[in-house]
């Protein structure tokens, strides 16, 4: 902690030398915060006043809330009206269009790919659970993760923060103890990955 304080103090002096009026208060506040933390601050935790080069290298993967990334990157101007059946690249068949030939409601497309995929892929336990059975058992596609007791899970400041989704463990199952079974049946309407696939599908339509 003393090394860190020294480093910050030298930075503060540099900043003061350049812009004494603007930055002194903020930097002093940061030093004061670290001091009062008295060792509770992890060594790798980024500090706002560190230079960009060192801050970038020492920033932990979870330091930026992953849930904020997709929200901030969602386009506002071009975004069509949200749909109850938005196209997502999740492979769960429950999101597929109705299998009946008579389709009553459409699957609507958003003009940008769903940005939620990337953060979820690195933070699989941040996925929200979704009931699939009559017992409303929470389940997610991350449930094939190896079982791990809750006590052995590594500390995750982000996922443990209040307001975040509760971590989903591999032992997630119906309250009755029955395992949750996933269907391997392919959906009747294949999910097009590209616009070309979508086009092929619609252009192949012929009268019955």
């Amino acid at each position: 902690m003393s090394d860190r304080e020294d480093r910050l103090r030298s930075l503060l002096n540099k900043v003061r030398a350049k812009r004494p009026d603007e930055r002194s208060t903020q930097a002093a506040d940061v030093i004061e915060r670290i001091r009062t933390a008295s060792g509770a601050v992890p060594a790798a935790q980024p500090v706002e006043t560190t230079p960009p080069s060192s801050a970038g290298s020492s920033m932990p993967a979870g330091s930026a809330p992953p849930a904020n990334a997709p929200l901030s990157s969602v386009p506002v101007a071009n975004a069509p009206t949200p749909s109850p059946l938005p196209l997502r690249s999740s492979s769960h068949p429950a999101h597929e269009p109705p299998t009946s030939p008579t389709v009553e409601s459409p699957t609507r497309y958003s003009s940008q790919p769903p940005r939620v995929e990337r953060p979820l892929s690195v933070e699989p336990r941040a996925r929200t659970s979704r009931p699939v059975s009559s017992q409303s058992a929470p389940v997610s596609s991350a449930s094939n993760e190896p079982a791990r007791p809750a006590s052995s899970q590594p500390a995750r400041p982000i996922s443990a923060a209040p307001g975040k989704p509760e971590a989903i463990r591999a032992e997630s199952a119906a309250p009755t103890g029955q395992p949750v079974v996933f269907s391997t049946d392919a959906p009747e309407f294949p999910r097009p990955k590209t616009f070309g696939d979508l086009l092929e599908l619609t252009l192949s339509l012929r009268p019955r």
């Binding site: 386009p75 069509p80 699957t107 003009s111 790919p113 086009l199 012929r206």
Partner: protein
Amino acid sequence: MHDGRFDPSGFYEFNLGGGTVRTRNGDRVMVLSEGVLSSLVAAAARDGDLTPLRRLGELLGDQVLAGLDRPASVLTPEAVLGHVSAVTALFGWGRLTFERWGAALVIALRDKPDLDEDDLGAAALLGGMFSQVSQRQVSCVPAGDARFIMVDFEVAETVWGWFKDGADLPAIVGMLEAKRAS
């Protein structure tokens, strides 16, 4: 996958001295009021020749293609939609979205100008635009509620007949099935 978003900045170049408006591709365009255009389109629909509207749609498709760095067929539907809807909006043709009804791709065009009663003008425009974007000849058939179902040229007349006979979009989709075109 292509993740580039459409950049509308500098799309139009206004030359007050020269009295021209050009897109950033160099195409000269003109601004028409909805009332004037609707009378022209209505006349074209009565005559059964909507070729100018389809040609206009192809020009819009060219604008879309100019913003893509790869063929539209290899891009995600969302990426194509982003560019198509932006160009459509910049030309004042409304708010375009994609919907998927079963296997059918449906184009929804909200807040479009009221041109003709049967929406054939907008259908011709969309057909031209998506033919250009996809580099295939496609038809967009009006299906009610500002929606247009995209089908092959060969079945467009049949689908249009179903709609004129009173079939709504779910019924039309139900009367179609995916087959390999012969």
